[in-house]
Symmetry: C2
Subunit: 235 residues, 2 copies
Amino acid sequence: MVMRLFLQTHRKPVLSDDDIASLEAAAGKTVDYAAKRVIVRENVPLTQCTLLMSGFVERFKDTPDGRRQILAIHVPGDFVDLHSYPLKRLEHSVAALTPVTVVNFPHADIRALTAKSATLTELLWRSTLIDAAINREWIVSVGARGASVRLAHLMCEMFVRLERIGLTRGEEFDFPVTQIDLADATGLTAVHANRMLRQLRERGLVEFRQGLVKILDWPALKDFAGFDPRYLFLD
Amino acid sequence: MVMRLFLQTHRKPVLSDDDIASLEAAAGKTVDYAAKRVIVRENVPLTQCTLLMSGFVERFKDTPDGRRQILAIHVPGDFVDLHSYPLKRLEHSVAALTPVTVVNFPHADIRALTAKSATLTELLWRSTLIDAAINREWIVSVGARGASVRLAHLMCEMFVRLERIGLTRGEEFDFPVTQIDLADATGLTAVHANRMLRQLRERGLVEFRQGLVKILDWPALKDFAGFDPRYLFLD
DNA sequence: CGGTAGCTTGACAATACTCAAGCAGCGTGG
DNA sequence: CCACGCTGCTTGAGTATTGTCAAGCTACCG
């Protein structure tokens, strides 16, 4: 049951019942974190991975001059730091954006899994690479899109990813983060993010208020954001 | 011999002579491309990977409004699109920044390698994840660093990566790309990139001229860029 | 009830972009 | 050999976008 949401987002390659069972069996301790708690600190040797069960998690880096850049936002079912298995440490930190529940997977158990099943290995590998594809889409966002488009694009991404795991209600979804978080994710200041969110609302595209996102016009929003979901590899 | 530079950058996990031999044996055709030629087109089914032997390669995306965002720059010894093995396609394109030579590795042969050696699989997996770590550092660059700092940081990264494979001469190295390329990589316009490069030169940090980079003051440059090489996982 | 975190708005400053022009170098064809 | 066109670099002037500083507001918590 622990892997339900993960398998819902990752449908290829197809796993045998046996593979699924051993994956489930590798699950270790369940841990809760309060909002803003650091879950994994950068450049510290790691011996386990973290599967997000509920809530939202951020991967981020702080710069010397005090800015925070969010590198990725994770939704339930995401293996937040599976890349720590081959890398042995992370070059960034991981923190809870909201109250979260996670399940740990010891590296030793993952090693056993990969030794046993090549298909499973490929699925896990692929999962880390989809994260990387999202990382790259974010480079495009911060590097080549205007402020309001960036925010619109982020809303599109969250909508599609949350829809996949059944966490949307029609055209709205809970996204209990602050405007500061949105600013840190898009490389903007909180003040400017606020203005751009207002603009998106006034244009009738999306509304973000008190952690609730309402898509007002999905086709128009997608078009405005230049959103092409193929980078999410949901096929 | 084909894997020499690759193994020079990727020293962990340590491979057996057997693993190295089978990796070498997987090498397929050698192909040359002229500068600016597209090597892999986005969202097209792929059946092989590309190892860069000489020259520089870019991974990029074009936006609807005509901007190009470079997502990564590859140096000799890099597996440019190893991630196409688990993903089966790329969500971005790959092109030659300079004249290049590459060697192809059929997915089928990589599959055979991974079936045979778990250590080799881990090394390949790790290699794709180091690329991802670089992707994330670029998010920080475009999202949270000023224009001149971004360029300085890119110069630091290229210097360290090229030094690793013996392509630097003291504190200088060949980097035969245009200012437009640098602008596309850093999310700036060519005009602004030009001004910022002049600033870096006048401050006595780095000089970029006609595809030649001269580090003028490495400690000062590193400090100015906030460059921390740990994200390159060279240990 | 005071304090804090988050949202909102305004006025102003800094950063980066656009448009435009001129120049240098290089390869090609007359 | 020269003339031409092309690509890339450089600089200036004006504009647009985004950031900074500041203040006031709300809601919620202790």
